[in-house]
């Protein structure tokens, strides 16, 4: 039986189909789990209970119920909207999230595709969502959405730079751009890169929060000012795409941070054969730790104003990241 399965999956097309299926299922699943975690955690922080009725006392089926609800809603497109662009925007945002999953190493040999330029690919694909957001803001034919879209364009482009610069330090330490290779470098070095790259890690996390347009960087959505910013006119399953994409993106960006800085699927002291099975669990646990911190920030801080946000990116994060690169490079050359 096992040999039959191994032969089956050694066929390229079968394994491709299998990988696509897993990725397609992972995104909604991860999205729902993180969404539910956010609801419950925020409730605890606010002296509430959170979802309570759907699925028994825990309310675990809340997001499943929400998903079904969104699907059966009427597909409303504003009369003046640009229809093809309006329909394409959520798809683009979701696609950029899904594509990120491809290069994340879940275990010693568990990676959908180990690209030799994995880091480069990940960052490039994640910036596709910027176009999707701009498309959403423009095509909605609504002044509030337009303002939200413009704010998003400014913010996301500004924070791309610290995001990219922050990972360069880890790449220098690992001497490779392949994601699996970076984890291997941390394994062989015996320590996670965050010990020396804490500045890079902090800059990456802040820039990731900004890329996700989560509070404190949620000017583009800014519920209390722009109703929902670029999302105002989206309802039904299109809104569900954006919604899922946000939570799934939290997962993927945190997973990238874990891979680059926190040692990925590796924990010191665990033998290799156990890691083959425990690897994904370790990665997911570390990722959820970072996701928890993101959720915690969201419910504690208010939002930055647009100009404060921009000055944070350009005047603080970019110089920090550049200094980090310089110092890392010097140390790498000197200490080998």
């Amino acid at each position: 039986m096992t040999s039959f399965l191994t032969d089956l999956f050694s066929n390229f097309w079968v394994s491709l189909a299998g990988k696509l299926l897993i990725v397609a299922l992972m995104i909604p699943l991860v999205g729902m789990v993180i969404g539910f975690a956010e609801m419950k955690l925020s409730a605890k922080m606010q002296a509430r209970v959170g979802p309570y009725f759907a699925g028994g006392r825990w309310g675990w089926a809340q997001l499943i119920a929400d998903g079904v609800k969104f699907f059966q809603k009427e597909d409303l497109i504003p009369a003046e909207a640009d229809r093809p662009v309006f329909k394409l925007a959520p798809v683009l945002v979701l696609v950029s999230t899904v594509a990120l999953l491809v290069v994340i190493p879940f275990g010693p040999d568990l990676i959908f595709r180990d690209l030799s330029v994995g880091v480069f690919f990940a960052l490039a694909i994640s910036s596709l969502s910027t176009i999707g957001i701009l498309m959403a803001g423009w095509s909605s034919a609504n002044k509030y959405s337009l303002m939200g879209g413009l704010r998003a364009a400014g913010q996301l482009i500004a924070y791309e730079l610290p995001l990219v610069l922050a990972v360069v330090g880890a790449v220098i330490l690992a001497e490779t751009m392949s994601m699996a290779g970076i984890v291997e470098a941390q394994v062989s070095a015996g320590y996670p890169f965050v010990i020396f790259q804490f500045v890079g890690f902090a800059v990456f996390m802040i820039a990731a929060l900004a890329e996700l347009t989560r509070i404190p960087f949620d000017m583009p959505i800014a519920e209390s000012e722009l109703v929902m910013g670029y999302l105002t006119e989206y309802s039904g399953f299109r809104f569900l795409f954006f919604f899922l994409a946000e939570f799934a993106n939290m997962f993927t960006l945190s997973a990238i941070a874990v891979t680059l800085f926190l040692g990925g699927w590796w924990l010191p002291g665990i033998p290799d054969d156990v890691l083959a099975y425990a690897g994904p669990l370790i990665l997911v646990a570390k990722t959820f730790l970072l996701v928890f911190i993101m959720i915690w920030f969201r419910w504690t801080f208010p939002r930055f104003r647009e100009d404060q946000l921009q000055s944070l990116a350009w005047k603080v994060l970019v110089p920090l990241a550049l200094a980090n690169i310089a110092i890392t490079a010097v140390f790498k050359v000197v200490l080998g």
Partner: protein
């Protein structure tokens, strides 16, 4: 009232670059909007993120109270009047009833005055807690909302226990406050006083409110993002505030230590020891901070009042059909939102001949065109929220 010149905000210095001709956009904020505290509409001309001409349009909630007051009797108007500023319901009734009592020249018993004072201060705490809840929400921090509203529930439960209503107490009567009746015909003539345990529960609730206010303060005061969003934003110089009629915590945040509770005699505030918090710069942060300190002072007043409340009748002797003799008077009170006054013209009938309601929020937001000149859009929300107005108070 020396003003730091660096903080006086000048008119917008928007400069449009020569190569890039941009058009300005007219943006309607409201009347249905999460942050306008009701149905306020701001017609803003914006250039990018900067607004340079903001005109408020009000009247969506105009209910014609001044005209209605001419066809109602005094007890009926009490019902109308506590719907003006519905967040601090009880505080609206007091100056109106005091005006009628002034024209009747009757003396309100001490116990009734103490009860009125306690309930007014509780209304003040309730109103300021709503501000503590909604202002960080507008800035983007959703969590203080829950802490503040949870504490407000305690105060509202107390108000409901005494007056029967959380928002619209309708508790004042000409000559005092309304004593409770027993139910059923055999006890109809028995006049009851405050509910049993009210004073002890109030003491307990005040302690809990103090703890909660400290919690909210620690969540907000040290938060760099909130400070960056509110410090130096929306500076209101005291001379401008006075000439526009801005009153209450907004005026005190600009450095003017003027509190009607210290100078007017509508309630016996002179018997109690409390401070009047004053801000320094007149920006949004000061308006927040002054209201937070005012909650603490209100707690202090309530505790002193509970300790010293005298016994006695709850209402002076008044005729069954009350006709207020001819006269005119203006009574003003320190409401949570600012100065609320009633100019009462009476001609000896059962209702007033003319009742002019001077509401605090009406004057407070008349300053919006001045203060929102050349301001970024997120700051519009921050400044509007810090003025703490309610549309019922604006439109009457």
């Amino acid at each position: 009232m020396v003003l730091d010149q660096d903080l006086v905000r000048h008119l917008s210095e928007t400069s449009v670059s020569v190569e890039l001709e941009t058009e300005d956009m007219t943006l309607n904020i409201g009347p249905q909007h999460p942050s306008t505290h009701g149905v306020l509409r701001l017609v803003a001309r914006v250039d990018g993120e900067r607004a340079f001409d903001v005109q408020p349009v009000i009247g969506y909630m105009h209910r014609g109270y001044e005209k209605l007051a001419e066809v109602r009797s005094y007890p009926q108007i009490t019902t109308l009047v506590n719907r003006i500023d519905w967040v601090s319901g009880y505080a609206n009734e007091v100056p109106f009833i005091v005006a009628a009592e002034k024209l009747l020249e009757i003396e309100v018993p001490e116990r009734a005055q103490y009860i009125r004072l306690i309930l007014t201060e509780m209304a003040r705490i309730s109103s300021h807690l709503v501000f503590m809840a909604s202002y960080p929400l507008e800035l983007g921090a959703p969590t203080p909302l829950f802490f503040a509203l949870r504490e407000r529930e305690r105060v509202l439960d107390l108000l409901e226990g005494v007056t029967g209503g959380r928002f619209h107490p309708n508790f004042n009567r000409i000559g005092g406050v309304k004593p409770a009746y027993g139910s059923g015909s055999s006890t109809r003539k028995v006049i009851q006083d405050l509910p049993a345990g009210f004073l002890a529960e109030t003491r307990d609730a005040m302690d809990k409110v103090t703890v909660a206010v400290d919690e909210i303060n620690s969540l907000v005061a040290g938060n760099e993002i909130i400070l960056a969003r509110t410090k130096g934003v929306g500076v209101l110089p005291p001379e401008v505030a006075a000439s526009y009629g801005v009153s209450g915590p907004n005026l005190r945040a600009s450095g003017v230590g003027f509190d009607l509770r210290k100078v007017e005699d509508y309630l016996p505030y002179h018997l109690f020891d409390f401070e009047v918090p004053v801000g320094e710069n007149g920006d949004c942060w000061d308006r927040w901070h002054v209201r937070l300190l005012e909650i603490r002072q209100s707690v202090r007043i309530i505790q002193q009042a509970i300790d010293g409340i005298p016994s006695g009748p709850l209402q002076a002797k008044v005729p069954k059909v009350i006709k207020v003799p001819k006269g005119e008077t203006y009574v003003r009170a320190e409401n949570p939102k600012g100065e609320m006054g009633y100019y009462l013209v009476s001609n000896g009938a059962q209702g007033p001949y003319r009742l002019k309601i001077r509401s605090a929020s009406f004057s407070n937001i008349s300053i919006l065109p001045w203060i929102l000149e050349g301001v970024l859009i997120p700051d519009i929300i921050a400044i509007m929220g810090s003025l703490d107005f309610v549309l019922g108070d604006v439109d009457r």
